[in-house]
């Protein structure tokens, strides 16, 4: 059965969660490539991945961060922040 954008978003979120556990940061393109590799046969394409990332960021489940390049991460307390 074809995957929906919400299902792709959930799968992406899981990828980011796992990467975080290993101290790894993922770029949006890493997530898109992972989704295409795993689910291309189920109808997933780049456009759907783009929408999934937009949903994840707009809902606040993931946030963009910058460390020499842009990454998608779970929301967390900023390490450098002077609270």
């Amino acid at each position: 059965m074809a995957m929906t954008v919400d299902q792709i978003a959930d799968a992406m979120y899981k990828e980011v969660e796992e990467a975080t556990n290993f101290g790894k940061k993922l770029k949006p393109m890493d997530l898109t490539k992972a989704m295409l590799k795993a689910y291309e046969e189920e109808g997933v394409d780049k456009k759907m991945c783009k929408s999934a990332i937009k949903n994840l960021v707009d809902s606040g489940r993931l946030v963009y961060t910058y460390f020499g390049g842009s990454y998608l991460e779970l929301p967390h307390r900023e390490g450098a922040a002077n609270d």
Binding site: K27, P28, M29, T32, K46, K50, I53, K54, V57, D58, G60, V63, Y64, T65, Y66, F67, G68, G69, S70, E73, P75, H76, E78, G79, A80, A81, N82
Partner: protein, 400 residues
């Protein structure tokens, strides 16, 4: 009572007849505690030859991945007002045309939410707001969008496109830079606000080969106005220049990089071998009343420039020698090609690798094949240089 910092080193930068950022910060410091602490921290940095900023991180506004550059002081106890000192990039209007009202509005917004210090403009072209705190980011974004402004790009996204003043003020504009810059900005809003590339991607639109936005040195895609036919010559004006004392032979003809001009000093006539002209604009710049670009105008598309950051500087090289970019169909084809190139770069590019570096790594021939563009001899890094594409047929013939 704000703390008064002694700043002998910074004071040196106020001397001389030119504008001084120190003078401006001191002015702002009269009203802003943040600007005052900035002076203190800067002086300490100058004394220690050491920066005290921590850069990057999580800061931004909801839904956007670009437009805010996080910055924190690593001396928050000593300079509490610059503990947070985030930068905001605001998308400038095409050609940097503002009304006084618009400028007053953005300055009011910034004095309300930040240090009041701005950089008009950053090297990418945006208006840069220097210094605010994390809790002011959403409110400043709300105020800006309500006044009709939007954030620009930062991080691994399409950076805010910029263009020269073009036909708005300049008679040399060979296409409508303002319109095309606006079109690209609006078309690629997603790419501008949601970083999805291996690294930054810049568009710059220059109306003529004078390249007032320095696109050939800094933009991943440089769109530089040019013309196909002959330079227009007004013979009477050539005579006038000669009569008024311009040394046409030495100041124009001898400075032509193609040596394609002749000047008859007795008749006071100029002749140009246009097929060898390199469209450098030098002669036109010296004799603007006598010489003008041809009438068949458009743009040359170049790819791959960058300033030195991770690797050394690159100048862009020709991808499409001539495109009537004002024509809607040709503009659509240009956008399709851009998207194709971004796809290939996203697929194969390394993290923090600009498209010019990517092309160097994989080879221009392979890149062109991947994006479906036929190599042609005009694809050169410099005028009258050898093309960098080697035809397989050539090698096959040689082998035989």
């Amino acid at each position: 009572m704000p703390k008064e910092y002694k700043t002998p080193k910074l004071d040196e930068l106020e001397k001389g007849p030119w504008p001084s950022f120190v003078k401006e910060i001191k002015l702002a410091a009269k009203k802003s505690e943040m600007s005052n602490d900035l002076l203190g921290q800067l002086e300490q940095s100058y004394n220690e030859k050491l920066g005290h900023w921590k850069h990057g991180g999580i800061v931004g506004v909801m839904g956007y991945g670009g437009g805010v550059i996080g910055r924190y002081s690593d001396l928050p106890d000593k300079y509490p007002s610059v503990s947070h000192f985030h930068t905001i990039r605001v998308n400038q209007p095409s050609g940097w045309f503002y009304t006084s009202d618009a400028l007053r509005t953005i300055c009011d917004i910034w004095e309300k939410h930040g240090s009041g210090l701005t950089n008009m403009h950053g090297s990418t072209g945006d208006m840069v707001f220097l210094g605010t705190t994390t809790d002011h980011l959403e409110p400043v974004f709300k105020d800006l969008t309500e006044a009709g402004w939007d954030l620009g790009g930062s991080g691994s996204d399409m950076r805010t496109p910029s263009c020269c003043v073009g036909p708005g003020r300049c008679e040399w504009a060979c296409y409508d830079t303002l319109q095309r810059c606006y079109d690209i900005t609006m078309r690629y809003q997603d790419e501008l606000h949601r970083p999805a590339f291996p690294y930054k991607w810049k568009f710059k639109f220059a109306g003529c080969p004078n390249d007032c936005v320095a696109s050939i040195a800094r933009a991943d895609i440089s769109v530089i106005g040019t013309w196909k036919d002959d330079i227009r010559v007004d013979a009477d004006q050539v005579k006038t220049y000669a009569d008024e004392g311009l040394d046409i032979f030495n100041d124009v003809v001898l400075n032509c990089p193609a040596k394609c001009m002749r000047y008859d000093g007795e008749k006071k006539e100029i002749s140009i071998d246009n097929k060898d002209c390199r469209r450098c604009m030098h002669c036109i710049n010296v004799m603007p009343k006598a010489l003008r670009p041809g009438v068949e105008q458009g743009a040359t598309i170049l790819i791959g420039a960058k300033a030195p950051i991770v690797e050394g500087a690159l100048l862009s090289s020709v991808l499409i020698p001539f495109l009537d970019i004002d024509d809607e169909e040709e503009f659509e084809a240009f956008c399709d090609l851009i998207e194709e190139m971004q796809d290939v770069w996203c697929e194969e590019g390394k993290n923090r690798e600009r498209v010019g570096e990517f092309i160097q790594r994989v080879g221009m021939g392979n890149f062109l094949e991947a994006v479906g563009v036929e190599p042609i001899p005009e694809m050169v890094a410099y005028p009258r240089d050898n093309p960098y594409v080697f035809y397989e047929d050539f090698y096959e013939d040689e082998d035989e």
